[in-house]
Amino acid sequence: MVTYIFRRLVTAALILLGASYFVYLLTAASGDPLEEFRANPTPQKQQLMDARTELLQLDTPAPLRYFKWFGGAVQCLVPFANSCDLGKNIAGQPITDALGNALVQTLTLVTAATVLAILIGITLGIITALRQYSTLDYGVTFMAFLFFSLPIFWVAVLLKEFGAIGFNNFLRNPEVPLPVALGIGVVVGAVTAVALGGPMRRRLLAGAVVFAFVAAVLIYFSATEWFKTPGLGPVLIAIAGVGIAFAVTLLSAGLKNRKALQSALIAVGVGVVLYFLLQPLLNEATFLMIVVLSVAFVLIGAGIGYLVGGYDRGQSMRAAGITSFLVGVLILLDRYMQAWPTYFNNSRVRGRPIATIGASTPNIEGDFWVLGLDSFTHLILPTLALILISLASYTRFTRASMLEIMNMDYIRTARAKGLSERTVIMRHAFRNALIPIATIVAFDIGALIGGAVITETVFSVRGMGFLFLDGIAHVDPNPVMGVFICVAITAMVFNLIADLAYSALDPRVRVKA
């Protein structure tokens, strides 16, 4: 194993060396950095050209200049030496600074989008695989391909028009007229009826229930101006928590495991109690505190599961742990919603929260919650755009993988020995279907660091993609190399991780040491 990893790392380093040399030469060959001065009639011409030549060391031919650059770049490997030198860009800014700024911008933009796209994509993929060739399957396939086919800048313009401007206008007077509420209810109900499997009567019934529920909720929200002062409150958290407890138990342990259900429900109860206890603490929240709290919630849940025990203590702990964590998320959500009016009426937000550009409101001041909401309102549209276009590959891939697994002999065996469908799908099929997905997820994470060039452009975010594009446009090799190195290293590391995970997850695959 160690030999294998070592060998892979050495190969990766060699590949990186070769590829970076190639990229350096390509960038250098893509134009003349002095072009803008060449026919400049000012007396400063020579001076300016000399300065640029010195800045970019143009007097050394590119094949050799690479090694100068490499000499600086290699120092980045020395830990804590703080001697990392990736050169400077044309404006004289050190690349390490520019990269730092851009990396933060890009990561804030793409992280949530990627995680959500993976989660939603895998879920949809599994559902469509289980209902292959149903209306739902066709519907999801069509939508996934449709979004995949849409150019992202187009999606972005539409999202800004309706998601930001339209929604903000709605928020000014958040009343849902009765016909609209009913209309939305009908649509959601119809989608549910279509999506649900089973006999027509059951579908219609479910559709009707959903219709009534959605319409009622919308009318209630409209009447109480919920959109202006949203919140969940302990009652809703308790109700939703019970739902979560049942769902989590259903998926992780099966409802027949009464002990697991019991511990999950206890976890919900404890969560509701904690809701009241935590409120004062949350007013002083910091990021670290949220992390600690979420770990605490998981531990509390697991502890409850341990105490309740049952014939399968592990299952109870898992069910209660997950439930407890999700209840914690609800409490967090509720606290964010409590901060919403403050944010909404902030003098810099002025009642139009959803933003069309940038990553934050300039000069906004506020506590943890207000700043969090500010990031949320700025990131929601680019995140949505990114999710929509990247959903297709995850959905389709999971579906294919799941279908293949469902036809495997061991699934048949599992069914034959009388396991419940839940156990077959969750324990046997789902896990194995995820194995190949690990590979593409790893690849995507690697590519993500490179930034979403077009999304960044449309939403005026100056991240890695922008840095890269700008470097190319100005024949400036240093930023291009900086971005390239970051992307290549992440891609390779994640590729290695994917292969290791592959061999760990799939017993048929063995690492050749």
Partner: protein, 593 residues
């Protein structure tokens, strides 16, 4: 917009001011309209700009983008500013600028007591001397190729006028300076001292190792005028200061050293969020000029016009001035129902196609043939008629229709030969040749893209092989004059409208003479022009130069640009301004409702 140089804008404005005021019978120099008493004090506004801020010195060759000039305008004050009627408005609260004598032309500048930088240091004559030294290029002794001698300050503007002066005479109180011109200079009023005195001499002096501003003045006083024929070794201290002036103020973030962003105007820069936004707050000390209503102005950068319109629509921006296009104006007009105010007006800029005096266009016949093939009427119909129903092709390189001499000059300058498309005539001139012509333009400006398409379509019929040399918005400006194209479509912000602007673009070897037009006779007339203070004589000279330019088949003016700005119902006091300062010209009158 690289052409947004303060000096140019000022030059334009001044000349236009003279021209327009002559027509209107209005003698310039009206006192500033004191901000309406009704305007609410306090509040904030968000203004959208296209480019990202990158330097606190907007006078350098690299720093003269419009955004840097605008930030500088809001944070510095001077002896005058230009209003939207293009009058030069004196700011007597800042100081006095008076013409002491006409022959020789002598101007005395006196800064009022109490005017100070935001670090508390008074604004003194030393600051004026620094500006004079930078703008005049007095100490430069580099030759044209830059092989010998030193070029100190890399000033982007035109030094011709101010170069006529010798080292100024300084008053004993340290607050006054007297400039004596060796020849009369038409634009003396706006040559120096405004709209902003932007670089503090005491900071430069300190950083160059000089004791104080007195040492600074002594150093400059002791140095003779630079002579490119007899270059001297560079003066280390002046060089250090010039280097600092040239690049030391470049920054993308708020410098740790506050002396690098001192203000002496209504606002001071509070924070810069790299490549995202810049925030200015009111300068509490400021009382030497029009005082601002707003407490805070935030500048955000959005490149694309649709994104700007959407940001305005969504309330993230209060004031925008996107590139005008029929689509943008129509979209903005649709927002009027939401309380958005849209101002459409003419700009002191026009789009034109220039032909290089080299490559395939070295032959005058080829240039003429090409000009015959340019469908000017069609371009105007399709590009600006939707914005301005009265639009017509521009028939002069130097006048705009608002100016009285325009009609006369247009009649005589030879533009009548290029009224319609004459494919046959062009073919005859080409005589069977099919020259390959590379046309450079800003690909991100739809007007230029469409003008290119129309010209390309028509010129291809005449036998030209058109190569698309369009570049992105960040690159086209840099490519101007670099010889990588044969013809270029772009806009001048002032070309020919002001007398200082004339030599800048049309004089042999000058900075902005991108197509290398060179006519000794015209050069001579231009030398004469800039020392002529008599308006009618100026017009006569300009008309003569106009004809020479047309006669040499320089290229064609296409149409006057249309500008648009729009602001939300939160803000009042925004007024349309035709020149480069744009809506910023009266930022102190902006108020929040």
């Amino acid at each position: 917009m690289r052409l947004g140089r303060i000096s140019k804008a000022v030059g334009v404005a001044a000349a236009a001011a003279i021209a327009l005021s002559a027509c209107a019978g209005n003698s310039g120099g009206t006192t500033p309209t004191t901000a309406a008493a009704a305007s609410k004090q306090g509040g904030s506004a968000t203004v959208v700009e296209v480019n990202a801020f990158n330097t606190f010195n907007p006078n350098t060759a690299d720093g003269n983008t419009d955004i840097n000039s605008k930030v500088s305008y809001a944070t510095h004050s001077g002896f005058f500013y230009i209003d939207n009627k293009l009058n030069v408005v004196r700011n007597e609260k800042f100081g006095k600028m008076e013409k002491v004598s006409d022959d020789p032309l002598t101007v005395k500048y006196t800064i009022n007591d109490g005017v100070k930088w935001s670090d508390g240091t008074p604004v003194t004559a030393a600051d004026l001397v620094l500006q004079w030294a930078a703008f005049s290029g007095y100490y430069n002794d580099a030759d044209a190729e830059g092989k010998t001698g030193t070029s100190y300050f890399s000033y982007a503007g035109d030094p011709t006028g101010i170069a006529l002066t010798d080292f100024p005479e300084l008053g004993d109180d340290g607050r006054s300076m007297t400039l004596k011109y060796s020849k009369p200079f038409a634009d003396w009023e706006i040559a120096i001292g405004g709209p902003g005195i932007d670089i503090p001499a005491h900071v430069l002096a300190k950083k160059a190792g000089l004791a104080d501003t007195k040492a600074f003045i002594d150093l400059l006083k002791g140095m003779p005028r630079g002579d490119s024929k007899a270059p001297k070794p560079a003066n280390a201290q002046l060089k250090a200061m010039a280097d600092l002036w040239n690049t030391g103020f470049d920054t993308k973030t708020l410098p740790a050293d506050p002396s690098l962003y001192l203000s002496n105007g209504p606002f001071l820069v509070k924070s810069i969020n790299q490549d995202q936004s810049l925030t200015m707050v009111k300068n509490k000390d400021y009382n030497w000029g029009p005082e601002a209503n707003l407490d805070e102005i935030t500048v955000r950068y959005i490149g694309e016009a649709p994104a700007q319109v959407q940001a305005l629509k969504n309330g993230e921006a209060d004031i925008i001035a996107p590139q005008a296009s029929a689509d943008t104006v129509e979209q903005l007009k649709a927002l009027e129902s939401q309380g958005v105010t849209v101002d459409v007006g003419n700009q002191l800029a026009y789009d034109h196609i220039d032909l290089n005096y080299s490559g395939p266009f070295a032959d005058k016949n080829v240039r003429e043939a090409f000009m015959k093939a340019v469908p000017r009427a069609d371009i105007v119909d399709k590009i600006v008629k939707k914005l301005d129903p009265k639009a017509a092709p521009l028939d002069s390189q130097l006048f705009v229709p608002d100016q009285a001499p325009y009609a006369e000059s247009a009649k005589n300058n030879g533009s009548s030969a290029y009224q319609g498309v004459d494919i046959e005539g062009a073919k005859k001139l080409l005589n069977g040749a099919t020259p390959e012509v590379r046309i450079m333009y800003n690909k991100d400006n739809p007007n230029r893209v469409d003008a290119f398409s129309l010209i390309s379509e028509s010129a291809t019929k005449a036998g030209f092989k058109i190569v698309d040399g369009g570049l992105g918005k960040s690159d086209w400006g840099k490519a101007l004059g670099d010889g990588s194209y044969d013809a270029t479509i772009f806009g001048w912000s002032n070309s020919g409208v002001g007398v200082s602007g004339v030599p800048q673009i049309f004089k042999s070897g000058n900075d902005s003479n991108f197509n290398q037009f060179s006519d000794p006779a015209a050069d001579k007339l231009m030398d004469e022009l800039i020392v002529t203070t008599d308006k009618s004589k100026q017009d006569g000279l300009v008309a003569q130069i106009d004809k020479m330019i047309w006669d040499s088949a320089y290229g064609l003016p296409l149409f006057q640009s249309v500008g648009v700005d729009a602001y939300s119902d939160r803000i009042t006091g925004v007024k349309y301004m035709p020149n480069q300062t744009g809506v910023w010209w009266n930022f102190w009158e902006w108020a929040q409702k």
